[in-house]
């Protein structure tokens, strides 16, 4: 299903950037299933030590808004990892 809410868009972008979702495909508009989104959120919550709800709750959104390192948390699940130039 389309992820339309702004916060979910941001979350999708975040989860994609840090290795929990496949990189967003600009030609397909970034559509993913809710199941995939829930699973990605759950994985992020688990890694970050939050309650694993699968929902984009306040705690999860807050953590996603914190300054952080740009290196992926998960390497290999959604990409080949960081390559140099």
């Amino acid at each position: 299903i389309p992820v339309t809410a702004l916060s979910e868009n941001n979350a999708m972008s975040y989860l994609s950037q840090f290795g929990y979702l496949p990189p967003t495909n600009p030609t397909s508009g970034g559509f993913i299933t809710q199941e995939t989104m829930t699973k990605a959120i759950s994985e992020f919550q688990s890694f970050a030590g939050l309650n694993v709800t699968g929902d984009l709750d306040n705690e999860t959104s807050t953590l996603m808004s914190l300054p952080r390192c740009g290196v992926k948390d998960k390497v290999g699940a959604s990409s080949d990892g960081r390559s140099k130039r």
């Binding site: 950037q17 890694f47 914190l66 300054p67 952080r68 390192c69 740009g70 390497v75 960081r82 140099k84």
Partner: protein, 385 residues
């Protein structure tokens, strides 16, 4: 901790800051970056040397937005920096749009972020341990930063504490050696062997003996100096200055350091409260600028030495220093005045002065008669020269 899967195959690594941040002085950045590397060299025998030009292992750049690697920075907040694992070159990039700061609660602390990124440069991925440096989220300025045990286990899983046999190649994605190896006997230390006069010597609660001299310290083994030393005092005991006058570890397991009119208290290498404090406040009756201090295991009392005199301090008594003190060091047969350091070790008290040391026998109250005679060479008998 999590290992990415690659590591450096050489232990002497070089780095270069190719592009400095706009808002900080270069010399301050150099210092903080060096300190950030020391976080990792503290627990391995890796060394990091800054170069100004030419080829280096790790290139550091402060950049804004898109900067040529296809991973643009996003302005203030959000992503602060990123770095490449060894197999991809080890370079570290910092978002120059951030308000980088040094030793300040304002802005984003450069030292902490740099230390984190260099963890990636060395092969560590993000940890799911919240207290770890390698956790991905910036947690604010920590004035008394200490590397988490999770990070230490991670870096030592990659590099151990032993010299790795170099194959000549600089990076590899081969499997890492997950065993932490025992450090080999240290090589002769040029600094201590050429001038073995020290500032202070003490035993930690964990039973390690340390020698302090200037801004550096050495860990002693039964054979001499442990490998990977000297290290910077300030990198291990955060907040502690160099040129310490005296130190001892009391029976409560806490280590006390003295310099000038001040003293500091640590548990291991973690400062134990709001220090420094005045010696006159915590050790009433003891003068400033002491030469040395020891705890006599026989009675738990603390002995302070300065010039020609010594004071006995008993924390359980009021006043802690009796009116009969100070007394003359010359009362203790064979011990010189103006000592540099003193240490209680294996039931004896050792006094250090210049390049020599004396072993004092608490039962005979005199310097031991032995062959070879005391004083003996500190360099030879203590530092393995």
């Amino acid at each position: 901790y999590a290992l990415q899967g690659s590591r450096w195959r050489v232990k002497k690594l070089t780095y270069k800051i190719s592009k400095y941040p706009r808002i900080l002085e270069k010399s301050a950045v150099d210092k903080d970056v060096s300190r950030a590397f020391s976080v990792w060299s503290e627990y391995t025998d890796l060394t990091f040397t800054q170069k100004r030009s030419g080829q280096v292992h790790i290139e550091i750049r402060f950049e804004r937005g898109e900067h040529g690697d296809g991973d643009p920075f996003d302005g203030p907040g959000g992503t602060l920096a990123h770095a490449y694992f060894p197999v991809y070159g080890g370079d570290a990039h910092f978002d120059d749009s951030e308000h980088w700061s040094i030793n300040s609660y304002r802005g984003t602390n450069l030292f902490q972020v740099a230390a984190h990124e260099f963890g990636h440069s060395l092969g560590l991925s993000h940890s799911d341990v919240k207290s770890a440096l390698m956790a991905p989220f910036y947690r604010g300025y920590e004035p008394n930063f200490i590397l988490d045990s999770d990070d230490i286990q991670g870096i030592q899983a990659l590099y151990g504490q032993q010299t790795l046999s170099s194959s000549g190649s600089e990076s590899t994605d081969t499997k890492v050696n997950s065993k932490t190896t025992v450090p080999p006997p240290g090589e002769e230390d040029t600094q201590l062997c050429s001038d073995s006069k020290i500032d202070t010597m003490f035993d930690s609660a964990e039973g390690h003996s340390y020698a302090f001299k200037g801004d550096h310290y050495w860990k002693l083994t039964t054979d001499g100096i442990a490998s990977g030393y000297p290290r910077l005092i300030s990198n291990s005991w955060h907040g502690l200055p160099g040129n310490i006058d005296a130190a001892f570890t009391y029976k409560n397991g806490k280590t006390y350091f003295f310099k000038g009119s001040k003293y500091w208290r640590y548990i291991g290498k973690k400062i134990d409260g709001d220090y420094p404090k005045d010696i006159s406040e915590g050790f009433t009756g003891i003068p400033d600028n002491i030469d040395a201090a020891t705890v006599w295991t026989g009675n738990g009392k603390i002995y302070f030495y300065k010039g020609t005199k010594f004071w006995r301090f008993d924390p359980a008594q009021r006043p802690p220093v009796k009116s009969t003190y100070p007394k003359l060091i010359s009362n203790w047969e064979g011990i010189p005045n103006n000592i540099d350091a003193a240490l209680t070790y294996h039931g004896y008290t050792y006094f250090f002065k210049g390049d020599m040391y004396y072993r004092f026998n608490d039962r005979t109250f005199s310097v031991d008669v032995a062959d070879p005679a005391f004083p003996r060479s500190t360099a030879y008998w203590w530092f393995g020269c």
